[in-house]
Amino acid sequence: MTGESTMVSIYIMGKQYEVPDGVTIMKAMEFAGYRFIRGCGCRGGFCGACGTVYRTPGNFRLKVGLACATMVEAGMHLAQIPFYPANRAAYDLQALAPTLGTLRQHYPEMTRCLGCNQCTRICPQGLPVMDYIAAAQCGDLEKTAHQSFDCIMCGLCASRCPAEIVQYNVGILARRLFGRHIAPPARHLAQRVQDIEAGKFDDELERLMRMGREELQKRYYARDIE
C-alpha cells in the first residue's frame, strides 16, 4: 500500500471508469467525476448513507460494503443504494411497555421471518441481524438491543428481506424500550439534577464567573485530578 498507484477498471452502474487501485469506492467515484448529493454522509462509516452492492468477475455472490470504508476491486460492478423505502411505526415511548407485545403491535410483520439469513449476510456492519430479529420474536428486548447496537441504519437488510421486515426499525424500537424502561435510571444523575434545581451550586458558580483570569488560572493548575 503505497503512494504511487496503479489503475484499475471499475463499473459504476455498468459504466466503465479507470480509478486508482487501493482507494475506497467513495473516493474512486469522486475521482471518476461524481459529486455526491445522495450516497455520502459522514465519510467515516457512521451514517449509513453509502450502502453499496457489487459483484466481482467470475463470482455469483452479491457483495456489499459501505462506499466510504470498502476498497475498490478490479472489475467490480457496483451500484449504490442510498435510499430504500421502509415501514416505520410512530409511537409514544413513554407510554409503552417493554414487551414482546409492544414489538409485535408495532411491527407485526416481524413474526414472518423465514430465517433465510439474507439480512445477516448483507449487513455491512457484520451484525447478526437475523439473530436480533429472532431475539425480538422471543421478546428478548435486551438481546435485540445489544445485538443491534452498532446498526447504522443503512437499510440494506430491509432491501433483502423476503418477509418485508424492516429490521433496523425493530432494532431501534427495542433499543429505546431497553434504554428507557429496562435499564435502571441513574440515581446519581437524578440526585444531581435535583441539587442543581435547588440552587445548590449557584453561589460557587457565581464566584467562579466573577473571578479574574489569574485567579482562575491558579485554581486550574492547582486542581486535583481523579
Binding site: 414487551t99 414482546l100 413474526t111 421471518c113 423465514l114 430465517g115 433465510c116 439469513n117 447478526p128 437475523m130 439473530d131 430479529i133 429472532a134 420474536q137 422471543c138 421478546g139 428478548d140 423476503p162
Partner: protein, 284 residues
C-alpha cells in the same frame, strides 16, 4: 450429562413455565440441557407444499448448528418445535432433493443424522421409567391424569415415530412412573383448534369444551400437555366458559411436583386454574 437443547421462541416469554420446569426437572434427574448458542424461530409450521424449501431453511440451520455440538442429539420440548424440527430432519435424512437444496443454500453439510428428542423420550430411554419410579415420592399416588398429546406429537406417524398415531402411550407410561393413574381419555390426540384461536374463537371454545368433558368423563384430576398453545387454549377457554376446574399443567411441571421441586421453580403460579389442590395432595 449435558444435552443440546432448543428452547424455541414461545418458551422465552409466553411459556417460560415450560422451559423452567423442563430444565429444572431434568436437572434433578442428572440431565443438563444446554441451550444452543444462537438460534431462530423454527418456523412453527411445516410447509404443506413438499418443495417449499424456504420454509424449511430455518429449521435446517438449527439442526445443522446443533449437529456441530457433536452430541448427536437435540432436545426440544414445545410440541410445535418438536414437530417441525423432527419433520425437517426427516426430510433432510430421507430426501436427496431436500438435503441438497437446503445444504446448498445454507452452505452446510448436514446429513440429517441428528436425533431430535422430546424430553419424554429422554425420560423413557435415558432415565428409564423404572428408575424414575424409584426416584419419585408417593405424592402423586392415585392422581388421575389425562394425557393430552394434541395434534403435533404423533402425526404423521412415519415421520414423527412417536408410537401409535391415534393412541400413543409414552405419556401414560410416564404418568404411571410418577405414581399417577392415566385416565381414560378419548380426545387425547384431537386438535384443540390451535392457531384458529386468532380467527375463530368459537371453534376453539367448542373443541376445548369437548376436551374437558372427555377428561372429566375419565375422572381426570389434571390434564397434562407439552404444547404451549394447547395449554393456552385450554386454560383460556376453561376460564371463560367455566367448563371445568381441571387444571392444565405441563408434563414437566407434574414431573417437578413428583420430584418435590419448589413450585416457584416450575412456573406454577396458578394463573387460570388452580393446581393447589393437586399440589396439596402431592405434598400431603
Amino acid at each position: 450429562m449435558s444435552i443440546p437443547y432448543f428452547p424455541g421462541c414461545t418458551l422465552h416469554v409466553k411459556a417460560k413455565a415450560l422451559d423452567d420446569s423442563t430444565r429444572a426437572a431434568l436437572a434433578v434427574l442428572g440431565l443438563e440441557l444446554s441451550g444452543l448458542p444462537e438460534w431462530t424461530c423454527c418456523g412453527t409450521v411445516f410447509p404443506l407444499a413438499r418443495n417449499n424449501y424456504i420454509g424449511m431453511v430455518a429449521s435446517a440451520r438449527i439442526l445443522a448448528n446443533a449437529a456441530k455440538q457433536g452430541d448427536g442429539r437435540l432436545v426440544t420440548v414445545c410440541s410445535f418445535c418438536y414437530h417441525v424440527l423432527k419433520r425437517v430432519n426427516h426430510a433432510v435424512r430421507n430426501s436427496d432433493e431436500a438435503r441438497t437444496k437446503l445444504n446448498d443454500y445454507l452452505e452446510e453439510d448436514y446429513d440429517g443424522q441428528l436425533r431430535v428428542l422430546h424430553p419424554l423420550e429422554l425420560l423413557r430411554d435415558e432415565v428409564g421409567f423404572g428408575a424414575l419410579r424409584n426416584r419419585v415420592g408417593a405424592g402423586l399416588k392415585g392422581t388421575r391424569v389425562a394425557c393430552y398429546y394434541g395434534c403435533m406429537l404423533s402425526r404423521p406417524a412415519a415421520e414423527m415415530d412417536f408410537g401409535d398415531p391415534e393412541d400413543p402411550a409414552v405419556m401414560e407410561k410416564f404418568v404411571a412412573a410418577l405414581g399417577g393413574e392415566p385416565a381414560d381419555f378419548s380426545w387425547k390426540t384431537k386438535c384443540c383448534g390451535s392457531y384458529q384461536v386468532l380467527n375463530e374463537q368459537g371453534l376453539v371454545a367448542g373443541r376445548v369444551k369437548d376436551i374437558f368433558q372427555a377428561a372429566a368423563a375419565g375422572g381426570a384430576q389434571v390434564i397434562i400437555t407439552s404444547c404451549p398453545l394447547c395449554q393456552y387454549n385450554l386454560e383460556a377457554h376453561s376460564e371463560a366458559d367455566n367448563h371445568s376446574r381441571i387444571p392444565v399443567l405441563y408434563f414437566a411441571q407434574l414431573l417437578g411436583i413428583a420430584l418435590e421441586i419448589p413450585i416457584n421453580k416450575l412456573g406454577l403460579a396458578g394463573r387460570y386454574a388452580d393446581p393447589e389442590a393437586l399440589l396439596q395432595g402431592a405434598r400431603r
